[in-house]
Symmetry: D3
């Protein structure tokens, strides 16, 4: 198994959720592709105005490319679904985009959001992924893992992210941090969970719980071997 | 108790979900009505175009009538909510249609989808049914059962369909298979779960687990006796 | 289906849990048998001393017989497992007793405790029942329902009794109350849930939620039809 | 901690859900504000027509003010999201309104709906609240409690409202009943759960389960002390 | 990762639960060890009498060795905890035995029972395994999977086995069936789930749901990579 | 409300679980009592031998007293239930001891273990607490909180500790660490979760998730106000 697709709702989710893991797997020989569905900017306004925010959207896209380059991602695909407003889009449209890319790339592993995340876009993306990658005979996707997004998944009460898969990122935490630093506009100050310190603390925490130095935590949706 | 309403999202769900059970209950003297809410076709296109798909929709409706006739259903009611796009319709509109038909037919038992199904239309229909049939004093519906739809319910991760009600369809499996055969355009090849072989295997499986030859599995939402 | 077995941990559980329902079903022609597994007294002492409590045990048994007679129960079977100490008995011993009686009486319906009840004896009895009545081909038990025991089930945090089956006891609430009155030593003062007022309030509450005057609530473990 | 915000989907939810509790807390010195997001009327029509229902909407608003005055609420904020059609509104719009008011009032406690309620508007409001009040360093909201709405929460199958927080309303039940009486158009006849008798019965029921005369039940989403 | 330990409560559980998978993995180069904790016989008697059943116990052990040999298991370790009476043994004793063997063999993967199985011995073994193999730094066990035991796991109501890991046993189903045939005294007639036909049907069922010909289903407890 | 009882299975659990919180609450004027039920030593041997381990038990008790003194606990009550073998003791015996102490001290708040913890003693203690402190009219206990024990709760798969109550221990973390240091024999090296570094990391982690510097996390069992 050699091809991985990361399906993220917003720029930076791919690094926050599984940046260390994909850096590690790329190092082991995997080819990784990133799909980012939303533009990640316009939810700042009460009425969406993609034009008005055009420069910021462009700027953020640049960050996407640099961050993914650092991790060694082969190619990034970006769509512009409205930030934090995926519920205003027909669910099927999102499914179809994932389906098409999936059919083209034929990945074996998919990393994506968790079903029970605070962010509505994250919830929708998870559902879209399992809808697009049904375990039919001809389906290439054999593993689907849900990641957490610090400052989102853990703020969804009641908590339902219950990880059972842990990747050792002791050797790739550096790359993860380097990649996330590229998302200047998205990072916050510690102790915000979406800060450099917060991301490191989170990795230490999961590491401590699994006998590792640094780890990323996932919940398996489906593994076929 | 003598009147049953099956509330399905798409043509063929009524057979897949509870075809054997209603055939059996009709044989025992129940009157069964089927409500199908969606047209079941247009999700094939990226942009819905009901007109373009007019012939197929018509063709599928014919299959609905024949299949339901085989099972002995008294009357079929078909609406044309957009296939796999029920989330684009106000939820209340779906509730109101179910409510109206329910008030007219005064069924005692309702069979419908399961809350946690892969298909978004299925989820919505379940929620609409329990919203439309609240257990008020004057409510005639005394039993609500959720069925599974092979190739949908079982692909919803994490799995949450946890059946506790089983109907013996050893004598009506033949009718179920005969009815589903009418849905030529919907059937797939074994080992697809929505194939003749798959449907039979599923019934054997639940039968084995409950000491029966063939069974259909349901999860009780509410039973009032 | 005509034969019912109630499997209770302690004297009075059979009335508290399903007294109104069995009175109603007896009236509809069912034959009901009660199995009470524990003696219901000795947990008052720090060290169990069944002899010392002999008179009370005898007295309580008399109450059992009178209460069950009022409800129209055909026969009562009483064992003397140590009150609130079922965990000190091999689980298999309890299973075997239920199994033997079940094989003799060949009931079609079983009413018993709920899996998640505060009382350890209640938990054990539920597990013993589902172990003894596995849905094999030759198994006569086709329906298993879990009841709640006021002042026990509702004090088990987190709450997990989630009823989905409700029996209308509007006509048999009187018999239930008459039967429970026989358990003089077990009743408490209102607002204790195990008081006459509390039992009535509970039945009104479930009634209100299901459009009935008085109801008893159950969670279906398994129904085969 | 001195400021409370009640976030309700419809007029009367604030009284049904936590009327006794806020009356009690106001008496203890808290300042309470009520936010009602929907107009509560137009779902009666198949097509929403807020103009046609203008008079009723106005009338209901008057009831809101009187009812909240009785409880001692400091100020009521009312929006006119479409009744039972919150799913047709971008989720983010609802979040933003809550967020803005929250930032202005800086409440310490929020009472709102439960995640798993039959009414789609209730579900959405809960999600919007936890999205708007994320536990960042600067967040003033330290406690979030979910209430039940009789004739809605308990009709959501499977039942998932599992209260763990109970407020003693023995002294404020009178105010609750007085306030709800103002909602003439919303009240039903007993045994409907949304009747005077039903509301009292419900409070007695939770009281009995917690050693109190009358109680309101809540599920804690988050408490920070 | 090259060493696997199967921890089973009774003879035949190792084949029923994961026979196809271990045959497949042995073929891929893994070394597999089997630990069977109970003698599997004495629960037939009301009072345990291991002596009286000595011959049968010996006979069953022979079946264990032959069956495991067929699958290619390297070594089998058998203990004689009392069949279906593991609850009468201090839980810690079971933990310690697993711990010791685990420390000796240093397996990387463990297959064992599911937490929520009808059989009390199965439940206890699962808990003992996760207690013995805590993810400390020095722990060699990196993957723990729970299997189902036909005629046990599926009869535990409410159902909670929710598999997320599936192994393709299309090529090893033959070995599984050959191995289970050695357990002459344990096999039943179809449609009993613990019959040759039942085992095959079960594998076909999971296969159908995952796009495979035959599959075994597992629930991941923990995976560290 | 002024009196708190901490009910712990083993020496050090009271500090690990809620040491920062009780130090904080003592500072706010609460009186805190600690009940430790087990001796915490003998599980090291295959056969329990309390005599042989007499010296160590005594030594550990000294640590208990010093640690609790540091936190400002008013009085410690220690029992000698067999370490990690609480399942070999009648459950009722444990309940009765808690009940008696509770009736004597009349605490308003109880901190204890979580229902789903890896350690069997922890599970049993939780169940014993909720059995001993049923919310009857005369019950003084109005709040029950479950804590986590690092290196135990988080290793119970599937994870079910889902905290909803967080105490700010930013000012009392120092006392917690000072107290835990007294348990020399129980502490491990970082990154073990039961190390000084691990305990601090855990408090930082929950702090980050709740906008605090350091926090302890709890799950509310029951709060009555």
């Amino acid at each position: 198994m050699k091809r991985i697709l990361v399906v993220a709702a917003h720029p930076d989710d791919e690094v926050l959720g599984c940046g260390g893991t994909i850096a590690k797997l790329i190092n082991e020989g995997y080819q990784v592709y990133t799909l980012i569905l939303g533009e990640g900017i316009t939810s700042r306004d009460e009425k969406r105005n993609a034009k008005k925010r055009g420069r910021e959207i462009k700027e953020l896209r640049k960050q996407v490319y640099t961050a993914n380059e650092i991790m060694g991602v082969k190619k990034v695909f970006i769509y512009d679904f409205p930030d934090n407003r995926f519920d205003t889009v027909p669910f099927l449209d999102i499914v179809k985009i994932i389906e098409k890319l999936k059919n083209k790339l034929k990945p074996n592993i998919v990393f994506t959001h968790h079903e029970k995340d605070l962010a509505i876009d994250h919830q929708i993306v998870y559902r879209a992924v399992i809808t697009a990658a049904r375990p039919l005979k001809e389906e290439t996707v054999k593993e689907i893992y849900s990641f957490e997004i610090p400052s989102s998944t853990e703020w969804c009460y009641p908590l339902r992210f219950s990880p059972d898969v842990f990747f050792d990122i002791s050797k790739s935490i550096g790359i993860k941090l380097k990649a996330i630093k590229k998302y200047k506009t998205e990072l916050r100050e510690f102790p915000h969970p979406r800060s450099l310190g917060g991301i490191k603390l989170n990795a230490e925490y999961w590491g401590m719980r699994t006998g590792l130095k640094y780890a990323e935590a996932f919940q398996a949706a489906r593994i076929i071997r």
